[in-house]
């Protein structure tokens, strides 16, 4: 009986792993090497939106088969979710906007909560834990775009 259950669990796990080898490229550019080493020949790059099949893993590297090339890339660049499902971008932006508005200052915070018919514990919460949400707004203003970052990288190369 126990062996049967064990076999069932093992079979289920194996099937899940074996059937879950497709991964997605979310980053702007994922370099692909001929072998799992930075000193190997760089044979190309996969860009955002590509789907790959993971053939095998080795020490943080993944051998992948893309539509146009096969090679090795860093495993950390692969995602389990397709690009368009990665974030539910519109919904995230809506949450962010709501939170930004609510956290603008304690009074706004309380007003937003009140407008939503929620209990006003947020200001106590912020005070108890010495939370500084105002500085987070300043930080948000310092963010840069992908294009700015790529241009910055180019400028730093010989």
């Amino acid at each position: 009986m126990k062996i049967g259950i064990l076999l069932m669990i093992l079979t289920t796990c194996t099937a899940a792993w074996a059937g879950d080898q497709v991964r997605y490229i979310h980053c702007q550019s994922a370099p692909v090497w001929a072998a799992p080493s930075f000193s190997a020949e760089r044979i190309g790059a996969l860009t955002q939106g590509h789907t790959v099949q993971v053939l095998r893993l080795k020490d943080g590297w993944a051998e992948v088969q893309g539509s146009q090339l096969q090679g090795w890339m860093l495993a950390l660049m692969l995602s389990v979710t397709p690009t368009d499902e990665a974030s539910g971008e519109a919904r995230n932006q809506a949450i962010e906007l709501l939170e930004q508005r609510a956290r603008r200052r304690p009074s706004a915070f309380a007003a937003t909560a009140a407008a939503r018919g929620l209990r006003d514990k947020s200001t106590d919460f912020a005070r108890d834990f010495e939370l500084d949400f105002n500085s987070l707004e300043t930080i948000a203003g310092w963010r840069v775009t992908d294009e700015q970052a790529m241009e910055f990288l180019k400028q730093g190369r010989p």
């Binding site: 799992p36 893993l57 950390l76 709501l98 006003d120 939370l131 930080i139 970052a149 730093g156």
Partner: protein, 281 residues
């Protein structure tokens, strides 16, 4: 000057045991990579939302402890370096933010969801842009690998975006709210006192080094920075249960570099730009 970032490991036996398991080619590390980078479970959108909300609160908590350094020019520069690194990661669902804390303490922090902080003291002790990138990459790696999320079991309590929002602003039950407070306390304890688990620190070193190299920076930068900080160690006492000592980190880093064919010549240091942007501010 109080230094936290380079605490000596507290419990040598644990470090020694993990040393055997964690180096790059080791079985345990291979398993970790499989679990966290490739075979990672498909987190639900609600889990990712919870991670972001938790990280947002934790970031506010960090800023409650250390003031933000209000230097737009240098903060912009740190954001450029940090954002460049994130272009090469698989977690594009996150919006990373970078900022400098106004303290002489040498330290760096990451929160789930993508807030990365570095102290003015750490910045002042760096020699080039690659070292800045390496420290940021180490912190980014903690986020990519969800170290804190997994240690504290942070997850969504429901699928509703609105219910998650209500939790944060106090609309949830006392129990849920108490849980959030408790988790924030534990997270702050990890960041300010205990440190991450040894295995997580070494994993962040490893992933960070690979990320640094992929972005085009000198992959030995973190190793150089840790070596520079070596003399400070004499002033340190073990403050936590399990932070890996620097010698151990250096040994593991060297192994990562060797295994992956990485050496100083394979990347940029951008010393001049760093001096122009940071040291001559």
């Amino acid at each position: 000057m109080r230094i936290i970032f380079f605490r000596l490991g507290a419990i040598i036996p644990i470090v020694v045991c993990l040393c055997a398991a964690v180096p790059a080619p080791g079985h345990a590390e291979r398993m970790r990579v499989r679990i966290s980078s490739i075979g990672q479970k498909a987190y639900t959108q609600a889990d990712i939302d919870a991670e972001k909300r938790f990280g947002h609160n934790l970031a506010a908590r960090i800023l409650g402890n250390y003031p933000l350094w209000q230097n737009a020019k240098v903060n912009h520069y740190v954001n450029l370096v940090g954002h460049a690194l994130t272009l090469f990661t698989g977690r594009q669902e996150l919006t990373f933010s970078f900022a400098i804390l106004d303290t002489e303490t040498i330290n760096a922090f990451a929160t789930p969801g993508g807030y990365i902080f570095i102290t003015r003291g750490a910045l002042a002790n760096m020699h080039d842009e690659a070292q800045l990138a390496a420290v940021l990459a180490h912190e980014i790696a903690h986020v990519l690998e969800r170290h804190m999320i997994r240690e504290l079991h942070i997850k969504a309590t429901g699928d509703s975006v609105l219910s998650g929002f209500a939790e944060l602003i106090g609309g949830a039950t006392g129990g849920v709210r108490g849980s959030l407070e408790s988790s924030l306390n534990q997270a702050a304890d990890i960041l300010f006192h205990r440190g991450y688990r040894v295995a997580d620190e070494l994993s962040a070193d490893r992933v960070g080094a690979l990320l640094t190299a992929t972005t085009g920076y000198d992959p030995t930068a973190l190793k150089r920075f840790l070596e520079q900080m070596g003399p400070f160690e004499a002033t340190l006492k073990a403050q936590d249960r399990d932070h890996p000592d620097t010698l151990h980190r250096l040994a593991c880093l060297q192994q990562v570099l060797s295994t992956n064919g990485l050496h100083a010549e394979t990347g940029q240091r951008n010393k001049e730009r760093f001096h122009e942007m940071v040291l001559s501010r």
